[in-house]
Symmetry: C3
Subunit: 138 residues, 3 copies
């Protein structure tokens, strides 16, 4: 049993879901662990991680619209130093979460057929985001 | 230290919370790990995993009703290929999440007294759902 | 590779976010693991764990207000044995989740600069809450 960890960086184009499934599979290949457990932690409070549908593009659009509806911009927040999209971004990151864990079985992440890993950017402007990744196993 | 992983299948009766606590305890017994970490990943985008109250049945009913309120069916989704319950199911799965991790201490999952593990089915119809499980330890 | 686990207790003052980042860092120091993976499980169904902004206090206030808006008290719940704040507390715990995983790199939790670990108390009255913690590595 051994472990590998790293801090990866991704550029986001502002409010969006960026598919990082391939990047994670590539990192896992480099790590050389074929049976084990992969963990991701998004190191931010206004971006997050989630697993969702990787085929129908409309699902991602509807998801972003729904998050806007649950955590709308508006004058009712005490925290607005960084603009109207800031506090909604914290709320969306809380709802979706900053952690993912994926068993690694037979050299591959044990995701379902329709599952992709997404870095969710909740701020309006482009950002550089860091994800701490860790895998252990054999 | 060693690890065991598997893909388990569960039948759901449509929109519901299925208690899989006993099934997970049984699987853990078979794996023979008494100190370690258990990880679950639901391999779907319209079903999910959560830990909630295992005693009062009303809590589960109220929870399902609340999810319906936060992610209602309606004509406002772009994604509706699979019926009106499809997009709400993706949203509910995103809110509740597809991952759980449970420390194993003294031969048992370190759950609280009132905690049960639930497979949440968000589609209206019955489905067969897969959960990737992984445990490591000694 | 070795592992350490424990059950930690925290007093909460009722509905609030309690910063437990320092307590977790201290526990990790005692465990003596400098490269590995830290897991937390809140052993309750009306309290939860989340990672959020550790600097601007207003973020935490806005977050609690938002949770009140998404899961308001009211007469529409079937489960009300323990008072009007009980069912909303279960819902808020479900939304935020009871699990966290944090890679440990170079002797420290790999949190972002602005990330703190919070125990979220969703009941109105003070409670004593337990968190199962587990770390493995070397």
């Amino acid at each position: 049993m051994r472990q590998v960890s790293s801090i990866l960086s991704f550029e986001t184009p502002g409010r969006s879901l960026t598919d990082i499934t391939r990047a994670m599979a590539d990192w896992l290949d480099e790590a050389g662990i074929s049976e084990g457990l992969l963990t991701l932690l998004c190191r931010h409070t206004s971006a997050s991680l989630l697993i969702q549908e990787n085929a129908a593009r409309e699902v991602r659009g509807d998801l972003l619209t729904w998050l806007d509806r649950l955590a709308p911009e508006g004058p009712h927040y005490a925290h607005d130093d960084e603009g109207p999209d800031d506090m909604p971004a914290h709320l969306k990151a809380t709802l979706t979460g900053v952690n993912l864990q994926i068993p690694v079985i037979g050299g591959r992440m044990a995701l379902g057929t329709w599952q992709g890993i997404y870095l969710a950017e909740h701020r309006a402007m482009p950002h550089r985001r860091q994800i701490a990744v860790h895998v252990f196993g054999e």
